[in-house]
């Protein structure tokens, strides 16, 4: 019965899970391609503060890795692995290697700076995809073999998609509860948003340098309402998983929210935003484009 419900709320074809693989792995592929690893390798390893599991690795390893040539080597390996997993070649192995490499690389970045949550949802999605049959369709391997693999029961493809959607719902829902636990009504203070936004707009160490934050104090009487709406939106985000009619409204709110944090706070979550594509019903999308998901490779 549970399987029946799952199959109804999320797309349940191998094609849809294949699209999810392309979205998640492709997002990290683009992000790795545009990053200058060799510049990262110029940074002094003595400012590194290994975080979490990154503490397991010895300093001699970081000394060898955090060099221009070491980081370029890491980039080459990551690009090859992510290319294979995005394209769907050797997916059983390449999705796992991509997951482990991204996990390591993201840990390295966090050892230089702070935890930053943008990519974490994507890392968990990589973990889900590494252990699911995401290479059964939309896969170059299928084309090369010139035969389709036998489709598994719908549940095999639907559940991983549901799991990734639930992870995104958890991200927002738990963020709301943690804010309420820590700040409670302080979060609805008129000065909360302007002071945070201005602080993040003063330096030139953020990725963007928008100055819209300095407009906020003149509207500060209205801002608690806006902040309350954001908290409500985060709290009710899980409804997007189970109620397709509400989905586009909630996801639309998410796009507005993330663009607002970019322009007003110079804080952006592009990886997380890209993963909104996991909520698209790709079976229906393919159907409306005249393609049968069952006939794809």
């Amino acid at each position: 019965m549970a399987a029946g419900i799952i199959n109804r709320v999320v797309p349940s074809s191998a094609f849809s899970l294949g699209v999810a693989r392309v979205v998640v792995h492709g997002t990290f592929l683009i992000s790795v391609l545009i990053a200058s690893f060799s510049a990262l390798g110029h940074l002094p390893v003595t400012i590194l503060r290994p975080t979490g599991v990154m503490k397991i690795l010895p300093w001699s390893f970081y000394d060898r890795l955090v060099t221009p040539s070491g980081m370029t080597m890491l980039k080459v390996v990551m690009v090859v692995s992510l290319l294979l997993s995005t394209a769907g070649l050797f997916t059983v192995a390449s999705t796992k290697s991509s997951f482990l490499l991204v996990l390591f690389y993201q840990g390295l970045l966090r050892s230089f700076g702070h935890f930053n949550h943008d990519e974490m949802l994507g890392v968990y999605c990589l973990a889900v995809l590494a252990f699911t049959p995401c290479g059964d369709r939309l896969s170059l391997g299928q084309w090369i073999r010139k035969r389709k693999s036998v489709e598994k029961p719908a549940f095999a493809y639907a559940y991983p998609i549901l799991l990734m959607q639930l992870l995104m719902a958890w991200v927002y829902f738990s963020a709301c509860l943690i804010k309420l636990r820590a700040g409670w009504l302080g979060y609805l203070s008129p000065d909360n948003l302007p002071s945070l936004a201005i602080y993040h707009s003063l330096d030139n160490l953020h990725d963007t340098a928008f100055r819209l934050a300095f407009w906020l104090p003149q509207f500060k009487a209205y801002l608690p309402v806006l902040v309350a709406l954001v908290l409500l939106w985060e709290f009710f985000f899980p409804l997007a998983v189970f109620f397709p009619r509400l989905r586009w409204c909630i996801l639309g709110g998410g796009v507005v929210f993330h663009l607002s944090t970019l322009f007003f706070m110079n804080i952006f979550f592009p990886h997380q935003l890209a993963l909104y594509l996991l909520f698209v019903n790709w079976d229906r999308f393919a159907g409306s484009a005249g393609v049968s998901p069952a006939n794809t490779r």
Binding site: I34, F37, L43, T51, Q106, F115, A182, S195, Y199
Partner: protein, 171 residues
């Protein structure tokens, strides 16, 4: 099908159990994340320090250097990396880098270290990266790079740039 259900159940538990732990204790222990972004509300009364990266060109100009233009891979983490370097955080971890441990021994402890003990290394790396992209004869090449630290004292939406300190590195 049963094996598949068991496998998916294990996968779900393996992902969500650590996330629940992180949520309850509001702790980030990579790769386990608690979504505590902007957890503490912003307080106007609270003063805040911030830094601006600048370069001095051979033509005598002082220019702002957005850090993202030098090390874009750090994406969104540069400001905390700089704050941590100013605060000598790399010396405060249980197992510091051998070179940091040696510097700690030589200086007589963390209290004796000046703020930003490793900042000259970071600034030199940034300065060299910046210059690498320019022709050797370019007037835009940097002869020095510096980090200027300011403080917004808080209490009002004004006086954002009270100068505190500069770290300067000749290149």
């Amino acid at each position: 099908m049963n094996w598949l259900k068991i496998k998916y159940a294990l996968l779900t538990v393996a992902i969500f159990l650590p996330l629940l732990w992180a949520f309850v204790y509001v702790r980030n222990a990579y790769p386990v994340a608690a979504w505590n972004v902007m957890m503490a509300p912003g307080l106007l009364e609270r003063g805040r320090t911030y830094s601006v990266l600048r370069g001095e060109t051979v033509s005598g100009e002082t220019i702002d250097i957005p850090a993202i233009s030098v090390t874009n891979a750090l994406y969104a983490r540069t400001w905390t990396m700089v704050n941590a370097t100013v605060d000598n955080q790399a010396f405060k971890i249980p197992n510091p880098h051998p070179a940091n441990a040696e510097l700690l021994r030589e200086s007589g402890g963390i209290e004796q270290l000046p703020p930003g003990a490793r900042l000259p290394d970071l600034l030199r790396a940034w300065g060299e990266l910046y210059n690498e992209r320019l022709a050797p004869t370019s007037p835009q090449r940097l002869k020095a790079i510096r980090l200027d630290m300011y403080r917004w004292e808080g209490g009002s939406y004004a006086n954002y740039d009270n100068f505190i300190q500069t770290w300067r590195q000749e290149l």
